[in-house]
């Protein structure tokens, strides 16, 4: 973990010419472009869609692609492009909130476990091991059975599943920083555990957390799509890519392409985030890049 920490300890390692090197990194550029595309689609849908996404027009149902409907229409006559644009919103909202829950809770717990050795650390790590027994789909099933399906259910289930991953990553990286000389120096200077954690440990593990958050975002998108496909996540009439796939499956023999577009959208979003994560890891942590 040494590459992320300079000798002064207070400032995180910032490789020289980040953007210059980033602009030449293929994974970073391609991944970044794909992620920007998804975010742009979601933002665009607030101000413009080719057709109103909620308007049902049975007379125009299952139309093939044309100049009016670029990718055709679904079984209710809704424009596919409009649904895909609006669907990007649920994907991003669920991803950001779920990763936010996992990141915040995981980082707090992970930093605590690294700072307070002994039974506190042991308890946190056992609790995080325990959460692994509940994949997001299993938590979502429990919550759907108890409080009903919906956006809150999927966000909570995905968020909870993210926590132990962030706990492990944070604790592992933070332990490495705690073993460094500058932390010892800070301790000798009279700084307490809390101040060392905030001033020295957190800034030095930030790059690892950014990379992990990008990868977890991709996993959250996959989980959200699966939950919406199963009917546990985003509920109609709110469009979502997973839900669109569920609707399309019943029409596989009539209009197979309806099952292709939302899947391509999900795959591109996930691919973009994964490539961006790979790129960020190479750019922010040269030691890891050398190892790969």
């Amino acid at each position: 973990m040494s590459a992320t920490a300079d000798i002064g300890g207070a400032k995180p390692y910032r490789p020289a010419g980040f953007w210059r090197r980033a602009s030449r990194h293929r994974s970073f550029v391609l991944g970044g472009a794909l992620v920007l595309l998804v975010f742009a689609a979601a933002l665009l849908s607030f101000v413009w869609t080719p057709w109103p996404p909620y308007d049902i027009d049975i007379a125009a149902k299952l139309k093939p692609p044309s100049s009016a409907h670029w990718l055709g229409t679904d079984v209710f006559g809704r424009d596919i492009v409009s649904l895909l644009l609006v669907g990007a919103r649920s994907t991003i909202v669920v991803g950001i909130i779920a990763v936010g829950i996992g990141l915040t809770s995981g980082v707090v717990l992970g930093l605590t476990a690294a700072a307070r050795k002994g039974w506190v650390a042991e308890l946190i790590m056992r609790m995080s091991d325990f959460t692994f027994a509940f994949p997001a789909v299993l938590s979502a099933i429990m919550l759907a059975a108890a409080i009903g399906p919906g956006l809150v259910t999927s966000i909570t289930a995905i968020g909870i599943f993210q926590i132990p991953i962030f706990v492990r990553v944070t604790r592992g990286s933070a332990n490495a920083v705690w073993a460094r000389e500058f932390v010892l120096a800070a301790r000798a200077a009279g700084k307490g555990s809390f101040r060392i954690t905030i001033e020295h440990v957190l800034p030095n593990i930030l790059s690892v957390l950014i990379v992990q958050a990008t990868i977890q975002f991709a996993l959250a998108i996959l989980a959200e799509a699966a939950l919406s496909y199963l009917g546990l996540g985003t509920q109609p009439p709110q469009p979502s890519w997973g839900r669109m796939l569920n609707d399309a499956q019943t029409l596989l023999f009539q209009t197979p392409m309806l099952a292709v577009y939302p899947g391509v959208a999900i795959a591109l979003a996930v691919l973009g985030l994964n490539l961006l994560g790979d790129g960020l890891r190479d750019l922010l942590d040269p030691r890891l890049a050398r190892e790969r």
Binding site: D129, M142, A267
Partner: protein
């Protein structure tokens, strides 16, 4: 070794008890009165009260929890609220499909991942390595249920080689049963294999750089002999860790994929039970799945100690 295993068994027991408490609280205490949930908001209070007594829901929470755990120990999971039949029987019927599906997809995953991982590591930075790694990057990005739909589209709709869903059962012989599980198993396996192949490649590359491999090569072993004789066994630790973690994803994936192919397995049972508000069935199914994840990770941990004896020393 025995102390290491004992410690792991105690952790396993504590985890299982913790999981059972959470599941019980979420699925028994949180929804309120299951009889009310079952009969709907319009049911008369008398009818709800009668059903509450009949289902034993008038007992205190702790008594019901202890009753559930004690029942589990002897294989009695209670009766379905909706069908009135034993839950254990309902689950057993569905496991006949879910367990073979999980095993099939794990086997396909391991074969695909180890082949791709070892091949790419042995051909590091050559065109084959770059090509296979690009494919795995795409594989990781695919939602497994979408890949399943694409397989249906190609093999059931276009080519009509296999059916688009359903399960013919094992009564007509093993082959028809396996045939109906083939597409579901492949769709589960491909995405998992993409991840595992990357882990295998990194692990093998890591070990190839070790001093003992250089010594083995210096003693005259060919690259292939060193790879099969020395590298693979040492590279298996991280691969097995990921395989253990993937088992949880595999089970979660099974629930989704069974719904894509309309397979009457555990996943379908859970969804039917949620729709029927049959919470006792949901509770036991979720417990079984969580227990499977915990037990598999326990077995992986114990297996490490046999593969790499240094681990048990560090763990003590």
């Amino acid at each position: 070794m025995s102390l290491f295993i004992l410690r792991r068994i105690l952790t396993l027991a504590a985890t299982l008890i913790g999981a059972s408490v959470i599941i019980f609280l979420v699925l028994d205490a949180l929804p309120g009165n299951a009889a009310q949930v079952l009969m709907g908001a319009d049911a008369s209070p008398d009818a709800v009260r009668a059903l509450t007594v009949k289902l034993g829901l008038d007992q205190p929470l702790l008594t019901r929890y202890v009753h559930w755990i004690a029942g589990m120990a002897v294989g009695d999971l209670g009766n379905s609220y909706v069908y009135g039949t034993p839950v254990a029987g309902l689950i057993a019927e569905r496991l006949v499909l879910t367990v073979p599906l999980a095993i099939m997809s794990m086997l396909i995953t391991v074969v695909l991942a180890l082949t791709a991982g070892i091949y790419t590591a042995a051909n590091h930075n050559r065109i084959g390595d770059v090509g296979v790694m690009s494919l795995t990057q795409i594989g990781i990005a695919l939602p497994n249920f979408w890949f399943a739909i694409l397989l249906i589209l190609v093999f059931a709709v276009k080519l009509q080689w296999l059916s688009a869903g359903g399960f013919s059962g094992w009564d007509d012989g093993i082959w028809p049963g396996l045939k109906s599980l083939l597409l579901p198993a492949i769709s589960l396996a491909v995405v998992q294999a993409a991840i595992l192949a990357r882990v295998t490649r990194s692990a093998v590359l890591e070990v190839l750089r070790e001093d003992f491999v250089r010594t083995a090569r210096a003693k005259g072993l060919s690259k292939r002999e060193a790879l099969w004789g020395h590298v693979l066994r040492n590279a298996m630790i991280p691969v097995m860790t990921v395989m253990g973690l993937q088992f949880a994803n595999l089970l979660a994936g099974t629930i989704v994929i069974e719904n894509v192919f309309y397979l009457p397995g555990l996943g379908r049972l859970i969804f039917q039970s949620i729709a029927n508000r049959d919470l006792i069935v949901v509770r036991n199914c979720v417990m079984l799945l969580a227990a499977m994840v915990v037990v598999v990770n326990f077995l992986v941990d114990v297996l490490y100690a046999f593969i790499d004896p240094r681990i048990k020393v560090h763990s003590l």
